[in-house]
Amino acid sequence: MATFNFDQFLEAVRAGVVDVAKTEALDFWQDAKSDGEAFLESTKKDLLVWTQQLADGLLSTDEFEFLVKGQKDLATMEALTRAGVGAAKIDAVRTGVMNVVLTAALTKL
């Protein structure tokens, strides 16, 4: 009867899981960082424009307040996007790990 080398199987799984996690985590981190920076930059720009427009009388206080609160809502949207993308990445990692385990098991059996 063919024997199963459990040590080799575990090592293949460990190496594969590290690869999957690194790839998905790095993608997520890089996207989150660049998206976060872009959002902050865009928020700063918009707030400057609106502040100037308020000073110039192009926006009422009421309208300015609405826009600033809207910007806060947008920040919440952005946070939800991070959470949504993160959850999708978790699913991708889970699928990746399953594939690693199955591949390792089938090649070691």
Partner: protein, 156 residues
């Protein structure tokens, strides 16, 4: 010679570790499968189409907010109904879709300060809105829809 409880039919043979390893593997696979329940709903072309279509429709209506709201009452009501339908559709996918539901809700909620809030303000004011304000809201609404579309596109 038997080796303890549960081992009556298993002798200490060279292949006994193969038998227990197989059980371990099966157990491991079962654990992964059980733990492998999705954390997000799958990507849905209907949701994407809703978001893209409603983004265009919303921005078009915002462009008309220079007029009093009475001039566009059917369009305002129509858009509101479509937004409510979009929220209901996302809710129908269950808890795994909670993030998309929250985003759609934030966008369309009349008590917040995105699209739903703007439509409520426009109607409450009973008059056309200023160009600078409309531009500002258009930017917010565009970005909000883009977030919703991004989340949907990232789903598996």
């Amino acid at each position: 010679m038997p080796v303890g409880r549960g081992c009556d039919k298993i002798s200490r043979s060279p292949n006994s570790h193969v038998f227990s390893l197989r059980r371990t593997l099966i157990g491991l696979f079962l654990m992964i499968l059980v733990a492998g329940c999705a954390t997000v709903a799958p990507k849905d072309p209907v949701s994407l189409q809703n978001a893209i279509g409603l983004k265009a429709e919303s921005l078009a209506l915002l462009g008309k907010a220079i007029d009093p709201p009475d001039a566009h009452a059917p369009e305002i009501q129509g858009l509101r109904q479509k937004l409510q339908a979009a929220v209901a559709y996302e809710k129908s996918k269950g808890d795994v879709n909670s993030i998309s539901v929250e985003q759609w809700d934030l966008l369309s909620n009349p008590n917040e300060n995105l699209l739903g809030g703007f439509l409520r303000k426009w109607e409450a004011d009973g008059k056309g809105q200023s160009p600078a304000f409309i531009d500002g809201v258009k930017k917010l609404v565009t970005k909000a829809f883009d977030q919703i579309i991004k989340v949907e596109n990232e789903k598996p």
